[in-house]
Amino acid sequence: MTDITLQIDGKEVTVPAGSTVLKAAQSAGIPIPTLCHHELLEDYGGCRLCMVEVESRGRTNYVVSCLYPVERGLVVRTRTEKVDKIRRVIIEELMAHAPDAPELLRLAHEYGADRNRFEKEATFCVMCGLCVRYCAEVKQKHAVGFIENGHVREISFIPEIAAKECWDCQECFAICPTSYAQAAYFLTEALAFPGRRKAAGAVSA
């Protein structure tokens, strides 16, 4: 496969054709923040934190680096005033839901985001979809999915599947940036199939 050279923050970077700008930046050690990106999963473009400024054929555009394919001569800027502003507002928007998530606190510090800028709504989930996509793409169990749309969208464990599959897995807990996947699972377990934990407890006692 042919290689493509592009410029990221003034640095010449060469990567195989078909790579994303995010991959190219990572290969050159240039950090771009992400929430919904995961090495094992298909690129999603949902959180929009990885937005960068690209200049191609004289036109400047704002694109998500996790999906944007590299092209010859592309000029990428990862930390312009506008890029930083987009990221700051996105962090502030997400902190309305999960103000104490460690990942968001770290990002807020870096981008000067005010965790109290917007009215709070304590749902704790940032809709990165990592749990949903990990369960579907890697584990192929579909035990957790999205329900509803728009701002009332939420993740939900499907009791019939979760009761069978989650007990020995729980791998999504560690990749969740806010611990909400874990909370949602235990809520489902406690309400929908509490028997198994009791039974397991009885055995170990």
């Binding site: 473009g45 987009i86 507002v89 928007e93 917007f118 009215e119 749309n149 728009g150 969208r153």
Partner: protein, 554 residues
């Protein structure tokens, strides 16, 4: 009905239909469009059918699609001469039938100007109609949408026959490009260029699609077109499929419009029976069929990539468009999507030629445009005017101005993703580029007139309240940005506005436009932006009033 084998057989069939019809014979057309249907035009239609049978009247009767003048419904048009009756009730039926047979007019049911009291009998004398140019919609009152013969009688499928028998696909494409037909769904992108991209994509399997979703608030012209004359849209689609080299078409429409679904399904069946769809159409060697698809009920379903996901059977979530759907759409195959009105223009361009088409309209926007006219306006309904028509003509000459002696304040275009401009700009021409520059892009064509009492903060809040529920929720700026804008606007309207709110709104609108994944998110803050551009003082006054009220001792 045996399948038509050639263009000549189609001409013969048409000649037969026309020979069996007498233009001087009285006719009655009851409007079955959405608004008239809501006023129970079905009962009116039944009353006409019964009366015609009772007196054994020799006249043509049909229930048609939308006549256009929606707020005066149920509409009835009596021919010959297009005598228009408004707000017709079942008890008026006997008199209309007996007068129609005698060539007389029922004076009490004709149009009466609300101020001057002047009457107008014929369609071309009524202010609402006489300032229009009804190229796409003019036939609708003559067509029972469930009868292909009615469409054939007005020249239907003549353009398809011409394209297949006299033109190569490249020539069809060249004609559409020359006509500079621009997409009527909102963007105004040249349809010919889009067709060419799909045509030139290397993949052999290609799709053409009608976007008949029309989820935009205050827009109702596409459903009038597709429900009232489904064959015209279908004919455009088949011609497009021929030009592009597609084998399969889709009509994507709404699950909640039963008459539209019925009419489109019936049109597809009839076109198949007549050999206008299927294998080797009119012996041209061109094979093409069309399927109807229904949405799942959210606005974002009408976004091109979400619509294609939906046709694939997936949830309608937009895909990032760094590769265009015209190259990689449904099942990653090149897919050309145009909206109902764009497709409806195609047969006309092929029959009458690009030169005729470009003789209508403004310098960069050609042809006519359907507009859904509503809001604080005397006459509301589906309007068709040449591109470039001043908004004043639409609002005052056709719309009859603002009712109840109020002054107009603003014109809103493009629904929940459009924008509002102050009435001082009413002489602006209806034009894709001009309106976009003003901050009120035509969008699909929903025009809302607002009077002096309109609270612009409330309008901004209302439109966001609509959009918040229509977002798919995948990307942060759309899902969260709109939600926060809505909260802030709700606070302002409830007297809880804060000084820093305008700052927060400015950041939210900017980031939502720049950062969202699809067009719904990117343009969701456009109405608010236009209102902050032209009516910022209303927001400031409101917020100042809020804080003043707070600081008063209780």
């Amino acid at each position: 009905m045996p399948r038509l084998q050639t263009a000549a057989e189609l001409d013969e069939l048409r000649a037969g239909i026309l020979a069996s019809r007498d233009a001087a014979k009285p006719s009655i057309a009851v409007c079955g469009g959405a608004a008239c249907d809501g006023l129970d035009s079905a009962a009116l239609g039944a009353a006409f059918a019964a009366e015609i049978q009772r007196v054994e009247a020799k006249l043509d009767f049909r229930v048609t699609g939308c006549h256009g003048f929606c707020n005066k419904g149920p509409n009835v048009i009596v021919g010959p001469g297009d005598v228009c009756y408004f707000e017709v009730k079942p008890e008026d039926v006997a008199e209309i039938v007996s007068c129609a047979l005698k060539g007389e007019v029922v004076d009490r049911l004709v149009y009466r100007h609300p101020q001057t009291g002047e009457t107008a009998v014929h369609m071309n004398e009524i202010p609402f109609y006489k300032h229009q140019m009804r190229v796409l919609t003019g036939d609708i009152p003559r067509i029972d949408p469930t009868r292909i013969d009615d469409y054939l009688a007005v020249g239907g499928y003549g353009a398809l026959a011409k394209a297949l028998s006299q033109m190569t696909p490249d020539e069809v494409l060249a004609e559409v490009k020359k006509a500079n037909l621009r997409g009527r769904g909102g963007g105004g992108f040249p349809a010919g260029l889009k067709w060419e991209t799909t045509k030139n994509a290397p993949e052999k399997t290609k799709y053409v699609i009608v976007n008949g979703h029309e989820g935009e608030s205050a827009a109702f012209m596409d459903r009038a077109m597709l429900t009232g004359n489904p064959h015209r849209v279908l004919e455009g689609l088949i011609i497009g499929g021929y030009a592009i080299g597609a084998q399969q078409g889709f009509i994507y429409t709404r699950h909640d419009s039963p008459s539209m679904a019925r009419h489109v399904t019936r049109a597809l069946e009839q076109a198949r029976e007549h050999g206008l769809l299927g294998e080797n159409i009119l012996s041209s060697g061109f094979n093409f069929d069309v399927e109807i698809h229904y949405d799942v009920g959210i606005f974002v379903s009408g976004e091109s990539s979400a619509l294609m996901r939906s046709i694939e059977g997936n949830a309608p979530e937009p895909r990032p468009k760094y590769i265009r759907t015209s190259v990689s759409g449904i099942w990653d195959k090149p897919s050309n999507l145009n909206n109902v009105e764009t497709w409806a223009n195609v047969p006309e361009i092929i029959s009458r030629g690009a030169d005729w088409f470009t003789s209508i309209g403004s310098e960069r926007s050609k042809g006519t445009k359907l507009v859904s006219l509503s809001g604080h306006v005397v006459n509301s309904g589906v309007v068709e005017v040449p591109m470039g028509t001043p908004l004043r003509t639409i609002v005052f000459d056709i719309g009859g101005g603002v009712p109840d002696g109020k002054a107009p304040k603003a014109i809103h275009f493009g629904g929940a993703m459009g924008g509002s401009i102050p009435i001082s700009m009413i002489d602006a021409p209806l034009d894709f580029d001009g309106m976009s520059k003003l901050g009120a892009p035509i969008g699909a064509g929903g025009l809302l007139v607002m009077n002096e009492d309109t609270d612009m903060v409330e309008i901004a809040r209302y439109l966001l309240d609509f959009l918040v529920k229509e977002s798919c929720g995948k990307c942060t700026p759309c899902r969260e940005g709109m939600w926060q804008m809505l909260k802030i606007l709700t606070n302002i309207t409830e007297g809880k506005g804060r000084k820093f709110d305008l700052d927060r709104l400015a950041d939210l609108t900017e980031v939502t436009s720049l950062g969202s994944l699809c067009a719904l998110g990117k343009t969701s803050s456009d109405p608010l932006k236009s209102m902050l551009r032209y009516f910022k003082d209303e927001f400031e006054t409101r917020i100042a009033g809020n804080s003043a009220a707070r600081s008063q001792p209780k």
